[in-house]
Symmetry: C2
Subunit: 342 residues, 2 copies
DNA sequence: AAACATCCCGAAAACGTTTTCGGTAAAAAC
DNA sequence: GTTTTTACCGAAAACGTTTTCGGGATGTTT
């Protein structure tokens, strides 16, 4: 009933534990004959090495930690899938924790993962995070850490991102190209780098096209669990504040969908009255009515890339050849749909 | 640079490792004074117990495994969130793997988790799974396992489910109540219990209302990654086969949304020409047009309940008082929306 | 003063693996 | 026939923790 150990195999074959271990790990100093015997018996007894012991001995867990702001989220669940699939290929398992966009929780989760002694960390930081000591501590411990999407510019680690600024610029330019004269922006929270960058891209596009930048046209969403509601609220507010807006670039599809729902309810026609561009290309955006123009953000690929990079760094550290951080930028694409039909 | 161990603390205080360990774990046979000293030093040195050693010694990992068919999925990501949040409260971490609806992969993933020596398993079985030996083996190893949603009736373990049959009955009855005379059903794959039960509920409702059951009105979807496409295909096929259908009960919202998209493209009006009820209450269903009537399936709660049950069983096994399996049925609710407006 | 209980501490074994280092025997070289 | 190489094996230490058990000191009861 008890799990089979090296000792059990050794005793049955009348050889030492050492030899059994070596036989199973293809050490050169064990004869073909005994290697064969060990292999065979191990198989019939269904021997599985005790991970706890292996971990203790080798000081690695073949496990990585993943901290994300939200789990029920199209983009993030794609990232999760990408990370897990890639990790599996390399024999790593993934422990997932959620920060819920809170700095305190994020800190706690990272602590938890470190005390579990994961071999590496992948993280997309919370909206609430402005202080990065908890992240720098990870690096100080020589644990590799890779950030994706929502990164902290000041932390020296590898990052997998998109060019948010460029993508936002493209989105806004698209609105301008199809004739919008007064374009609003629903931005994300104030702290996250990507929401800053998307805002800057929006602003730059206006300036480059000789259109005035009007701060009152910029609305803030905290995102998190209530994105949809925020979209509705901002849409209502926008109509009250400015009746001349004919285009909006919105930080996230879910917010955009909330806004569209509200506009529809209030009798504002899309795209006739207001044209809308979202961000992320949630699946939903292709099935709602009207379908939503958006920026495709490659979540699955981002996850895969993040793990690949982490894997390289974990190996580099094992071989005492730590690498310098790398920033990988993945391509995005403007997906034109009905919400910006001219 | 190296992590602090009990030994380090012991040496600095000139006491034994034993005493340090006991002091930190509130053993009664250590004086208040030394306990205080140990505690203090542990804190200043930022001592974190080495999980690998603890695991090896205690034979538990405080980690559970979760195997689900798909990750990028509204229902399942809600379950994930529920499990993780509850596990965290009890000091457990969660390792997630995806079976991709494949029996082979499911088997492999379970093996992986067992060799990682997780303390328990939560699983929703794949469409492709017809043989349950891999699950019975887990039970034979005295590892608790809890199934949810897609269960195997024949495996003796706890299960968290909804009453699929009743829910499907309610959904179909609703279509009948609003005047549908000829109701089709897009069912799930042939093997999964819940897709069987939903089909049976549909059939029963017809019979109880003296409506003929017509097998040619039942279409099969394999689900998995291509649910949306299957919905479209089946919708097209249905129109060819039967031009008199005025209502459809569909196994999953995503398939229903695919069908609605196709109907819209083909000029079939919903709910005027055909009324539709989905299943699961994906968020999407409340924002598409027309909004989709569906059965709300409490994913988050299911996840929480599943972990709670697993937790009980893990403790029971630790205390050598194994419990008998429990089947917990959660309530569902019919959410009436535009797709069945009469 | 002897007997007993109480309080505190530490030695040692155990969990199962990996890896270093020596050692013995047989084969090869001189 | 002696030395050197090669092939194979095992003892032992180590990873860091937990827990059992015994024992010494101090205090309390006869």
């Amino acid at each position: 009933m008890k799990p089979v150990t090296l000792k059990d195999i050794a005793e049955q074959l009348n050889i030492s534990v050492t030899t059994v271990s070596k036989a199973l790990k293809d050490y050169p100093d064990v004869s073909k004959k005994t290697r064969g015997l060990v292999r065979e018996l191990a198989k019939t007894l269904n021997y599985k090495p005790n991970t706890f012991a292996v971990n203790l001995r080798t000081k690695e867990s073949k496990t990585i930690g993943l901290v994300i702001p939200v789990i029920v989220h199209h983009f993030f669940s794609n990232v999760i899938k990408g990370i897990i699939s890639q990790a599996e290929k390399k024999g790593y398992l993934v422990i997932i924790l959620q920060s819920n966009e809170s700095y305190e929780l994020e800190k706690k989760q990272i602590d938890l993962l470190l005390s579990q002694r994961v071999d590496g960390l992948i993280i997309s930081i919370a909206n609430g995070t402005a202080d990065f000591n908890h992240l720098n501590e990870v690096i100080a411990q020589e644990k590799p850490i890779v950030m994706f999407d929502k990164i902290a510019k000041l932390v020296k680690c590898s990052k997998i991102i998109i060019d948010d600024r460029k993508a936002a610029y493209t989105a806004t330019q698209h609105l301008i190209d199809i004739g919008c004269k007064r374009i609003a922006h629903f931005r994300g929270a104030l702290l996250p780098q990507n929401s800053i960058d998307r805002f800057l891209g929006y602003k730059q596009a206006l300036i480059d096209n000789n259109m005035p930048y009007d701060p009152t046209l910029v609305y803030i969403c905290e995102l998190g669990d209530k994105s949809f509601e925020e979209g509705k609220q901002n849409a209502r507010q926008l109509l009250q504040d400015h009746d001349d807006v004919d285009g909006i670039f919105i930080n996230t599809d879910l917010v955009a969908i909330g806004a569209m729902t509200e506009f529809k309810a209030l009798g504002v026609k899309i795209p006739e009255d207001i044209k809308i561009v979202g961000f992320s290309n949630w699946f939903m955006s292709s099935v709602i009515s009207p379908t939503l123009t958006t920026i495709d953000q490659p979540g699955y690929k981002m996850g895969k890339t993040a793990f690949k990079q982490l894997f390289k760094e974990m190996n580099a550290i094992k071989n005492k050849k730590p690498k310098k951080p790398k920033i990988i930028t993945l391509e995005t694409e403007l997906i034109k749909r009905e919400s910006t039909k001219s």
